[in-house]
Amino acid sequence: METINIICVDDQQEVLDSVMRDLRPLTPLVRLEEASGVADCLKLMEQIDEDGDYVAIVISDQVMPGESGTELLGKVASDPRFAKTRKVLLTGQATHADTINAINDGQINNYIEKPWQPEKILAIVKRLLTLYILDAGIDYKEYMPILDQQTLFSNLR
């Protein structure tokens, strides 16, 4: 069976640890990966693509050393291999301009503010994951326990 990955990107390990923990209910049906920066994330995505696996969602911090979250998500958006990948910005200190860029260039699907509520981030990720699985034509039945039922049914109708 194919592996579906969700990648979380942040330069602070504590943040990665927390997101990983909040999304743990999704395992082991999907694989959670963490990346410590933009370059690391792109390298990881390259690897996943080579293995023939999927990147369903990238959840990125905005302010990081080197490139920003918006720049990362922009690159993901313009890469045809990841055209279906859903993009989330998770940040506490994005400026107004950052936010505009995130929407226009990063084409983000969701914006989550730090600090976040665990149920909320889990719900958002489930919804985006459901859309991705339908979009990518993956057999959704395997993933039923972690899909957002409402999104699933309204899209199957």
Binding site: R24, P28, A35, L44
Partner: protein, 477 residues
């Protein structure tokens, strides 16, 4: 000098020649001597020939013989007038013949006057009295306008400064208040975390040695490996040991290398596979503790910054103030490699918040320079040490030294000369809140400690060195 047209200046020169050159109509005053008191009668209008006068408005309406001391009564300076100016103009032209201010000589002063009996000269050519003296009225009007405009500008500037210092004071109070509240909250988190860790450890110890070991490895984890460093090891453990991703991650933390792994017992590894959550729990408590320490550091620093101004106390640990300042800037500095080398220093007499202002300003500037320049691999180094100035008997001999350097762009020579002046900046954009009050403040504070600032800048490195005399030998005790 009041700017007037040549015509009027020529007319004024003629008036001086014709009306104010009569040796019989002059008065000489000693410095501080009263010419005329507020409310007193005079039929004269004076022109200041030499020296200068000062005019006061007195609230009790009585002028004394001599210029009173600043503290006496309530009086307001209205204006100062020097040679070429006229006084008692209004009382003369209005025919009120009563001075509405008190006029004193500021120095040795000679005045010439006319009064209402002075005959009109050359009426046929220059017109009647009013026509002849119109330039004096214009001169007076211009002088008054000049004074009012100047006063208004001064007042506005004073209001601006007042407002700014009030804002700063308010901000200080506010942050001190917040810091106090947070301090208690953070204290609870920190203390209870420790307590919980101790209890859990004791319970696990009594139940299962392997779990206690696992917990402790999580709680005392000091490996700071990034996600990318760990990833290959995690994959390796997942495949070879048939572990879940989560368990493999824990094992990768405990044993990042093959050699580390070989030291572990088979039973321990099996327990990681099953009970990795116990390690995570220990690790969570460690993170809590670290976050609490970080918060404590920031709260401490904010409290210091907000502390009421300059109370210098003995026994100040300079190294601690540097650490506090770095704490405060922690969030910014995470994008910069920070190297520190702290040698313990003798305590000095100082105001902690002043010292912190010095360090935060310089470090902040270094950070801004690196960011603006987009320096590759930005680095800031901070070190402390002791410096002896030998053989210069006039100066203090022992100094504590704080050196702050960065690998940002070279500061041009013409900037080095101006860098400590108020209002000098190369930062044209951006809105920096609060801390960046500038190097002029640094200079002022360092000067007040009889310290010195050194600045060297090359293409490779820019270094600020702050020297403050120690308690032992001079002044600062």
């Amino acid at each position: 000098m009041i700017p007037l047209s040549d015509n009027i200046n020529r007319a004024l020169e003629r008036l001086e020649r014709v009306y104010f050159s009569d040796a019989g109509r002059t008065v000489e005053l000693e410095p501080g001597e009263l010419l005329i008191g507020q409310g007193q009668r005079t039929r004269r209008m004076y022109r200041i020939m030499e020296g200068s006068m000062i005019s006061y408005r007195e609230e009790d309406n009585e002028a004394s013989e001599h210029m009173p001391a600043e503290s006496e009564g309530r009086r307001h300076e209205l204006f100062r007038a020097d040679a070429g100016s006229f006084v008692c103009v209004q009382s003369f032209f209005s025919r009120a013949f009563r001075s509405n201010t008190s006029l004193y000589a500021l120095e040795k002063t000679r005045l010439a006057y006319i009064d209402d009996t002075t005959p009109i000269v050359e009426q046929y050519e220059y017109g009647n009295f009013a026509q002849q003296f119109l330039p004096v009225a214009i001169h007076e009007l211009a002088a008054r306008n000049d004074r009012i405009f100047g006063r208004a500008a001064e007042r506005e500037e004073a209001m601006r400064l007042l407002q700014r210092s009030e804002m700063a004071a308010l901000l200080g109070q506010l942050s001190a208040g917040i810091a106090h509240e947070l301090n208690n909250a953070v204290g609870v988190i920190s203390r209870r975390t420790e307590f919980m860790a101790d209890t859990l450890r004791a319970i696990l110890e009594a139940q299962d040695k392997l779990n206690a070991q696992l917990f402790l490895k999580g709680y005392e984890d000091t490996t700071f490996l990034s996600a990318s460093d760990l990833r290959p090891t995690v994959r390796h453990y997942e495949r070879d040991l048939g572990m879940s991703q989560e368990a493999a991650k824990v094992l990768a933390h405990i044993a990042p290398t093959e050699a580390d792994y070989k030291k572990l017992s088979w039973r321990f590894v099996r327990n990681v596979k099953r009970n990795y959550r116990i390690w995570e729990m220990g690790h969570d408590l460690r993170d809590l503790q670290m976050a609490a320490n970080h918060a404590t550091g920031i709260v401490r620093a904010v409290k210091q910054m907000g502390a009421p101004s300059s109370s210098r106390e003995p026994g100040v640990d300079v190294v601690q103030t540097v650490k506090d300042a770095l704490h405060l800037l922690h969030n910014k500095l995470k994008h910069v490699t920070l190297r520190t080398e702290f040698k313990p220093l003798p305590a000095i007499t100082a105001d902690k918040s002043e010292l912190m202002q010095i360090w935060t300003n310089i470090v902040q500037n270094a950070y801004d320079a690196l960011t603006l320049d987009k320096t590759a691999e930005p680095r800031i180094s901070v070190s402390t040490g002791i410096f002896h100035a030998e053989g210069v008997s006039l100066l203090p001999e022992e100094y504590v030294t704080v050196t702050i350097s960065n690998n940002g762009p070279r500061i041009p020579q013409e900037h080095i000369e101006k860098i400590f002046q108020p209002n000098f900046t190369t930062k044209k954009q951006g809105l920096d809140f609060g801390l960046g009050l500038g190097l002029s403040i640094v200079r002022r504070i360092v000067d007040s400690y009889k310290g010195s600032i050194g600045l060297t800048s090359t293409d490779a490195e820019t270094t600020f060195t702050i020297n403050l005399p120690t308690t032992k030998i001079h002044g600062n005790d």
